[in-house]
Subunit: 216 residues, 3 copies
């Protein structure tokens, strides 16, 4: 009895942690969009637009492709409000964020790793094939940033030297693998998150990268 | 009796006006796409492609996100035919349109303001939350142009100094607000249209803009 | 009896041919994405991403717009695996592909012509209006490449001097026309394929192009 109560309490704590990380991811992604807006000296509406698209873009594409309706932010508009709020805040405080760019990179890495896992989970929940679930995890984690870079005509993260999309793919595949091996939600999300974070963190800290194509 | 007949007649005139403005919006948006095609010296198929995507792009994204199927132009292909026709016409007459660019800007403003209102209305009709309806109004009005600029690698309107997306957001919010206050269709559409047009018109005429982010 | 057996055998051969061409199209489109990745000296994951998006992008947009779910590669993930496999192969052998660019152009033309026909057929099968079916054929054939060029910020094929989108439109319209005239699947696909291939082939071989807009 006591043990099962502790387990339940542990699950409760874990779920709160996931929810907190989920919001952290949304907030950090929005911030990266707002920073691009600041580099382009946009007005506050531009901040809101680019910040919000970056925050919810990946999950939107995932839900569209999987035919999950209503799309998560159409069902719960609070997501959009938070993205907009973060973007407005960034409009007035971006000069405080810029010198903390390195911290932002790490928070972005955490969002990337978590969204890859939870995106894959949402796809499996919708009945998708494991391979499709891995792709959906990557899309959830990366396509907000890809849309941000495309709209603002910056060099896309898909061209970055450092590991980025790769970390999302590995995290999503780890989640799907652990899930297929029968591990529970907590273990699968944690394992995927930590591995994805480690990979992307290594890229941030040590410049880890895959070897690139060179013309022969 | 006579009064109610007059009211009905008034509604009839109003609906005809809305329908006329709706077509005007589609036509003007297509024209702006065709003008980008002319600046890039495209062939007539390029005109059709860019003109049509600009004309129907915003409404297409709105219907996709809200899961409204068939998408409006798949249900009524006449929309595509008109966009294509306008684009073909522009291929032969763009030299007549260029010197009337200022008129085009004003017509574009009218399309922007109307589509923001009718896009929001369509979202409310599909059961969307008021916040989502405001977003959908903005998407309907702005994303044809955003897709046009992204495909043709022009600086996107989201980076424009002048008020543009803001006017669409205000028009959509006005419609949703008037609707929530119990005002009828005519009042809500008219109020939203006039306020949106005034804002965007001020930007065209007097260079109205919001203050922009400046590095501190 | 013998004749009908021969007809059935002929149909069987034809279907195998279509299936082979369908895979050829997917493979060639992926290759063109991987070649853009090689020009940008991306890593192998970048090859996979850009190759796969190019291979399946057009069909994905078609299925989304027509509300056909599951989207073809979500139903049969083998499509994604093949695109990824081709992209990985290209990462190691792109230096062998580059000098055969002209061959690739011709294979791309074959994919373009076939996808325009089969995309239009899929749209008709979903109950779409003939005009919409022509558009969907063009989207299936061209939008993988358009998304590839937009993501990699290359000059889009919609701006190309040579006939490209036009060939897809003609092939799709030919299929829809032959179908409406009561011709069977084999005749309609073959006619559309050959006409599209001839048009695009003329562009490759002789530089065929439509006259372009010139400022007056």
């Amino acid at each position: 009895m006591m043990l099962s109560a502790r387990v339940r309490q542990g699950q409760h704590v874990f779920e709160n942690l996931i929810t907190a990380l989920d919001w952290l991811g949304i907030i950090v992604f929005s911030l990266t969009g707002a920073l691009v807006a600041s580099r382009n000296q946009m007005d506050v509406v531009g901040f809101i637009l680019l910040g919000t698209i970056t925050g919810i873009g990946g999950g939107t594409l995932r839900d569209l492709l999987l035919d999950i309706h209503p799309i998560f932010w159409i069902e719960q508009p609070i997501y959009v409000l938070v993205c907009a709020g973060v973007s407005i805040l960034a409009f007035f405080t971006a000069h405080l964020v810029h010198p903390r760019y390195r911290l932002l990179l790490w928070l972005d890495a955490a969002g990337l790793a978590l969204f890859a896992a939870t995106g894959a989970e949402r796809a499996l929940g919708a009945g998708a094939h494991p391979i499709v679930a891995v792709i959906m995890g990557m899309i959830t984690a990366c396509f907000g940033g890809i849309i941000r870079d495309t709209l603002s005509q910056e060099k896309s993260i898909i061209f970055s030297y450092e590991i980025y999309v790769t970390a999302a793919l590995v995290a999503a595949a780890t989640f799907v693998g652990l899930n297929a091996l029968g591990f529970g939600h907590e273990v699968a999300v944690s394992g995927a998150f930590l591995l994805g974070l480690a990979l992307r963190g290594g890229a941030i800290q040590f410049g880890w990268s895959l070897s690139r194509y060179r013309a022969k």
